[in-house]
Amino acid sequence: MSEYFQDYVAVAAFAAFGLVLVVLTLGITYLVRPSNPTKEKVTTYECGVDPVGEGWNHTFIRYYIFGLLFVVFDVEAVFLFPWAVAAESLGVPGMIAVVIFILTLLEGLLYAVRKGVLKWE
């Protein structure tokens, strides 16, 4: 097995260890904790009064729009990382390409600002 995979084996071991630990602790508490669900106890919390309507309400559309914007900018960051690693070998052409890339994105962000997409109202 190569050095490369050795590292990821460690990651997998770590994840497995963490998961086992969490599940194990939760399992042990299952044995030792009390469990006495009364009718009032298992109602949904709403500041002490009986809950009104469903818990799953409509939420503000802006959250969704920000989600869309996030996809754009996070993917952009992921594109920039490989360039940053190889910036030396890509040289001036790579630099110019990234400059155009960033300017394009800045223009997009400016567009979003101008259209009032980022206003939280």
């Binding site: 469990s35 910036a87 990234v98």
Partner: protein
């Protein structure tokens, strides 16, 4: 790779885990104590000397508490969410080196033991990926509770986390550009020399923060927002939405969210130190001091630096009022992201001029 290597990996895993648990326990106490001091209170002082065992006592209490499962929850996701919060928090710290690698002789071979969970070649991307996964826990917890406050807390958390994650990702690009590697150990190594200014060695460590101060600033703000700490704690703003996403959680399930929050805080501080303040690098006085002390000193430096950051985290919480949601979004999208792009632009240009010369020469 023989069995000793396997054993070493296991040992590293266990060591990192123990470290995280221990640090987390102390961190909760530390925060309560510092906040108490700032507010002219005593804070916890009963359990153990200076109340240092208070967190342990709380943990034991939560361990034996009833875990109420409300009737309206989506059971599968509801139970999975706390685990999804805790495990990525553990995983994120894996790639942060907290000491100088040392060699030991086992089984007739010299073996290098890095004080780090794993030294991935895409370490920085891995950190970003894990911090994205952590968002799922909050969203799923909020949604699966089937209750209004958690739902609001959940969507708030998502929008906040993703907004600042974009800024954080962009703020780290200059670091990679500067080092030429995403491997965390190489980023540390690149900062272990001293700075040269106009041909003079001025003796100051070559920390990234010196050149990349704006990146550091953006990173720190985003890190505070990513961990949902004050003044960015709209996710669990008690006055508005009760407990936010974990309103319907109790007992150990709640404790796991709590644990994850403090681990994330520690990891973010550790990352800030590693990426901008040279990580564990610092004077070890090899040959002057006994070898064991020299090997241990970098770890000490690391924790001293991290402690400063943790103090800042707590300080912020004790000082600043909470932001309004629109302010939060404006700061993220209209300040941090554009300025990190412009800064990247600038630093890229400067590096290109230094490396390739001016375009007309």
């Amino acid at each position: 790779m023989d069995w000793i290597d396997v054993l070493l990996v296991v040992a590293r895993v266990v060591a990192v885990f123990a470290l995280l648990m221990g640090v987390c326990t102390l961190l909760v106490w530390f925060e309560r104590k510092v906040v108490a001091d700032m507010q002219n209170r005593v804070g916890p002082d009963r359990a153990g000397p200076w109340g240092i065992l208070q967190t342990v006592a709380d943990g034991v209490k939560l361990f034996f508490k009833e875990q109420v499962t409300p009737r309206k929850v989506e059971l599968g996701l509801y139970l999975a969410a706390p685990m999804l919060a805790a495990v990525p928090a553990f995983l994120m710290f894996m790639v942060v080196p907290f000491g100088r690698p040392f060699t030991i002789t086992l089984g007739g071979e010299e073996r290098l033991v890095p004080l780090q969970g794993a030294d991935l070649n895409v370490g920085l991307l891995y950190v970003l990926a894990m911090s994205s996964v952590a968002v799922y826990a909050v969203v799923l917890a909020g949604w699966s509770s089937g209750s209004k406050y958690p739902l609001l807390g959940g969507v708030r958390a998502t929008a906040q986390a993703i907004s600042y994650e974009a800024a954080m990702g962009l703020s780290l690009v200059p670091v990679v550009l500067f080092t030429g590697s995403m491997r965390i150990s190489e980023i540390v190594a690149a900062q272990s020399s001293t700075l040269t200014f106009l041909g003079w060695n001025i003796g100051f460590p070559a920390w990234n923060v010196v050149v990349l101060a704006p990146s550091f600033l953006i990173f720190t703000i985003s890190a505070v927002a990513e961990t949902n700490r004050a003044p960015f704690d709209l996710v669990e703003a008690e006055q508005e939405i009760v407990g936010g996403f974990h309103t319907e959680y109790s007992g150990l399930r709640f404790a796991l969210f709590f644990l994850a929050e403090y681990i994330n805080m520690f990891t973010m501080s550790a990352l800030a130190v590693t990426l901008f303040f040279g990580g564990w690098s610092g004077p070890a006085w090899d040959g002057v001091l006994p070898a064991a002390v020299s090997a241990l000193l970098p770890t000490v430096w690391f924790f001293v630096k991290v402690l400063v950051f943790l103090f800042i985290f707590v300080w912020l919480r004790a000082t600043l009022p909470r932001l309004r949601y629109d302010q939060l979004m404006t700061l993220g999208w209209k300040r941090l992201i554009p300025s990190s792009l412009v800064w990247l632009f600038f630093i890229g240009g400067a590096l290109a001029v230094r490396r390739f010369g001016l375009p007309w020469s």
